[in-house]
Amino acid sequence: MQSSIEVSRQPAVRYLLRIGDTCLIQAQRLGEWCGHGPVLEEDIAMTNMALDLVGQARAVLTRAGALEAELGGTAHDEDQLAFLRDERDFLNLTIAELPRGDFAVTVLRNFALSTLLKLLWQRLLDSSDAELAAIAGKALKEARYHQQHAGDWVLRLGGGTEESQRRLRAAVDLLWPYLPEAFESDEVDDEAFASGLGPRCADLADAWHAEVAPVLDEAGVAPPAPRAFRSTGKKGVHSEHLGYILAEMQHLQRSHPGGVW
């Protein structure tokens, strides 16, 4: 059995891992639709999105692994980070790890996350980290497309049939409590902002609401009342779901130490 690696706890590294891990875990969930989509064309579209997100994860994790060494720690590559980190060191937003759900949950989550990522990549174009800025350049185009695709589906489901409306409302109720986590800054954000690495979470909130609210409105769904509950994935304390995702995802590397793939 291959044991877990130790990862740098430097804020800059953690900032990158939050982004890379969110992309990776979201990709992992999207990939579950392969061969099970409601229509062949959508199977292709969702797999496309998963592929884009895997690409973004790879780029960001690679940068994070190199940054570890630049900051005096041990360098890691994208695969060591993806397959040999313990759950507590994964820093994705909890919303990404929630079960795939039905198509309404999927498109709504895609819409919420791709809007967030789009706004983030836009700001990261000006990152003080040149590599991150370059990654953002490519990722932004992809996020725009994902947002368009998901947003159109939110409208279709909201304005479709009684059943699709019902499911969309259920999806909002399920997912919305996990969003505040995405917009509350902490010391990792403050460091990133101070160094010019990237924006604070909270800085994206207004723009995000401005883009999401009209779509929800037109779709005829209202977000639930705010609650006190806060998910804490970006701090490494996850829901019960991430453990299962990682057990599946990491199994091969863990059971073939030293393996080359």
Binding site: L40, E41, E42, I44, N48, H149, R156
Partner: protein, 116 residues
């Protein structure tokens, strides 16, 4: 161009009853045309099912330009395409064969200007 739906042989409801008439619940069929590079024509590359025009364009991008094969996409509902009748091929196209002066190879030019 080979349109998917041949007038006169439109897909009807399936032979055995399935509880739902296929015609009213199926997403319409669209033909996809892609221009792969500026300066070229749009080429018919196939068809797909989509519920509305925006979806058709997005899906066409996902399905037919996965390998960066397009700068412009056209989608047309298959039932909007008007095609010539192959039975009338002789009437429409044979007369063109006579008019060879329309073809560049008909004209013998001196070598120095033959590249036209």
């Amino acid at each position: 161009m080979s349109p998917a739906v041949t007038p006169g042989t439109l897909p009807g409801p399936p032979a055995e009853p399935t509880g739902r008439a296929a015609k009213t619940t199926e997403w319409p069929l669209w033909e996809v045309f892609v221009r792969s590079k500026a300066g070229l024509d749009h080429k018919h590359c196939g068809s797909l099912h989509a519920a509305d025009p925006q979806m058709a364009i997005q899906l066409a991008r996902d399905v037919y330009t996965r390998r960066q094969e397009g700068t412009s996409i056209w989608v047309v509902r298959s039932d909007q395409i008007v095609a010539s009748d192959p039975g009338e091929k002789a009437a429409y196209f044979d007369p063109m064969a006579d008019k060879v002066y329309r073809h560049p190879t008909f004209y013998d030019l001196p070598k120095s200007v033959d590249h036209m």
